[in-house]
């Protein structure tokens, strides 16, 4: 990567992280408190009475909630910040008048989404280890899945922020697409409990692949398709990033 490109990507990333850290108290409420509520109510409350296969529900659910944290942190912050920068503050215009390329701006936002997701997931893992005594197993491999999944959802955030016309549409999209995706991609219930016709579609979503792969890691189940799973998420991420970049150029450069 050229020095100038790296410098621009890091400049965009730094600005987004500065905003994130300055408003951490606001983000923390939504992004850490919400998953903890799920854990307390469904996992530690209801979950003590439920067993899936021979697995305790809390142990089953923890990887799903972890990826809910990754998805929320990457998708929601990037889509909101980009939509505001495009439609409201119009700071994307200012950024593009600097000697930068659209690719560099988009990559900066995606990188910020990934790091924000990593921070939130790290906090979640530590909290869960202390509160619920959950062991996540091979942390570096889990972090790799988190990075790739967060990159996918940050890129998806670029797509929606450039494709949709306003914040209202974005709220509807989140409610109709992202929230169900989080609920049905193996987070709270096994995919096999879903209707047969829906299962192939759910299986194709990178979030499902990541949740199932990480669940196998945390439950110490051998996964013969581990590298294929990683490769699949990478391919999906690169594809959705390219779509996001295309839409970014089409929306901002007339």
């Amino acid at each position: 990567m050229k020095t100038r490109t790296a410098r621009v990507v890091l400049a965009v990333w730094e600005r987004e992280m500065y905003d994130y850290l300055k408003n951490l108290h606001v983000y923390a409420t939504r992004l850490v408190v919400e998953p903890l509520l799920f854990i307390f109510i469904f996992g530690m409350g209801l979950g003590r009475r439920v067993v899936i296969g021979d697995v305790n529900y809390l142990d089953f659910m923890a990887p799903g909630i972890l990826f809910m944290v990754a998805t929320n942190n990457s998708y929601q912050t990037v889509s909101l910040r980009l939509m505001i920068a495009r439609e409201w503050d119009k700071t994307l215009i200012t950024a593009l008048t600097a000697p930068v390329k659209p690719f560099e701006i988009v990559l900066g936002y995606v990188l910020a989404g990934v790091v924000q997701a990593l921070v939130a997931c790290a906090v979640f893992i530590v909290l869960m280890s202390y509160i619920a005594d959950i062991s996540f197993g091979c942390i570096p491999l889990i972090l790799l899945f988190i990075i790739l999944t967060a990159a996918f959802f940050s890129s998806l955030a670029v797509v929606t922020a450039m494709w949709l016309d306003n914040l209202y549409q974005q709220v509807v999209f989140t409610f109709l697409v992202i929230v169900p995706m989080i609920f049905f991609c193996g987070t709270f219930i096994p995919i096999t409990d879903l209707p047969n016709r829906v299962q192939p579609v759910i299986d194709m979503i990178p979030l499902t692949v990541a949740v199932q792969a990480v669940r196998m890691i945390t439950l110490s189940i051998e996964n013969p398709y581990l590298w294929q799973n990683l490769a699949y998420i990478i391919v999906c991420g690169v594809t959705i990033f390219s779509v996001g970049l295309y839409l970014f150029k089409r929306r901002v450069i007339t």
Partner: protein, 308 residues
């Protein structure tokens, strides 16, 4: 520094810029004067890479804006029409992060941000968000941000629109200082007086076409034949002989008498003296007004309607 040739920009069926050509030399302030929707901002957007030209070429310091946008933008600073700042950041932070995008080293950037705030007289508002500032302060901040990277060329898109007189004068002073420091400036405006006071050369643009261009004086001279002399005479001195004497002067194209006031139209500046001499020999003159064409008159003459 800026060369534009046969530039066309279409949005679907609508032609925003219709084959314009112009050049701006180093250290020059070039004004784009025209009504709203004339194509001024679209041209600026093409120069900064926010709009792709449908046809034609635009070059910045010899580099093609479509083939080499980074090299072009390295030489440009733009003050956009809107005050587009990040509402979550203080103005100091916004300038800082904008400077980072321009690749200014951090230590140097901190100094430049301080200078920009000083230049725009906003030092004491450094920790405020932009929307807490008045319109005039916001405009000055936009110009200051454009200068942060110390660019060779500044594109100022309607820098004083919506400002009160005092703020407008401050921005004008800033633009004059830019010229003194050797910057090349492309200024768009729909304020005729602004173009007249600030620009070395002006292009009048309407419906995406350059109607004419030249120095403010050259443009005004386009209507040289329309100098009017209005004279008030001592009432007893009025007689028919004065009217016939004036009509005999070559170059006088109008003599209109209302009570003791005479309006004389002449073709040329040199005839003004002959007219006045003729009047002074015949009567006591109590008041003289010489009315020369303004840029407003030129625009009305060229576009056929008041600027919108």
């Amino acid at each position: 520094m800026i060369e534009v040739e046969n530039l066309v920009k279409k949005f679907g069926d609508m032609t925003a810029v219709d084959g314009i050509s112009f050049k701006v030399g180093r250290g020059e302030i070039f004004g784009f004067l025209g009504p709203n929707g004339a194509g001024k901002t679209t041209t600026i957007n093409v120069l900064v890479g926010l709009s792709r030209p449908s046809s034609g070429t635009a070059r910045i310091a010899g580099y093609d804006v479509t083939k080499d946008p980074i090299r072009c933008k390295e030489r440009l600073g733009i003050a956009t029409q809107d005050a587009n700042f990040d509402r979550h950041l203080s103005i100091r932070d916004d300038l800082f992060y904008n400077g980072l995008l321009h690749g200014i080293p951090r230590r140097e950037l901190k100094k430049r941000v301080d200078s920009a705030l000083k230049w725009s007289k906003l030092e004491k508002y450094r920790n405020k968000r932009f929307y807490k500032l008045s319109g005039g302060m916001q405009r000055r901040l936009v110009v200051a941000r454009a200068m942060l990277s110390d660019p060779e060329i500044l594109l100022l898109d309607e820098p004083t629109t919506g400002l009160d007189l005092q703020s407008r004068m401050q921005v004008w002073e800033s633009i004059k200082n830019l010229k003194k420091s050797g910057k090349t400036v492309l200024l768009t405006t729909h304020y005729i007086e602004e173009a007249d006071v600030l620009c070395d050369r002006i292009a009048i643009i309407d419906h995406g076409r350059i109607v004419t261009s030249g120095t403010p004086d050259e443009l005004k001279r386009m209507l040289d034949g329309n100098i009017a002399i209005e004279v008030t005479l001592n009432p007893e001195a009025m007689n028919e002989e004065i009217e016939s004497d004036l009509n005999r002067i070559s170059g006088v194209n109008l003599v209109e008498i209302k009570s003791n006031r005479i309006k004389i139209g002449v073709n040329d500046d040199t005839i003004v003296e002959d007219v006045l001499k003729s009047l002074f020999t015949k009567a006591r003159v109590s008041e003289i007004d010489i009315i020369r064409p303004t840029l407003d008159d030129v625009i009305l003459h060229l576009t056929g309607r008041e600027i919108r």
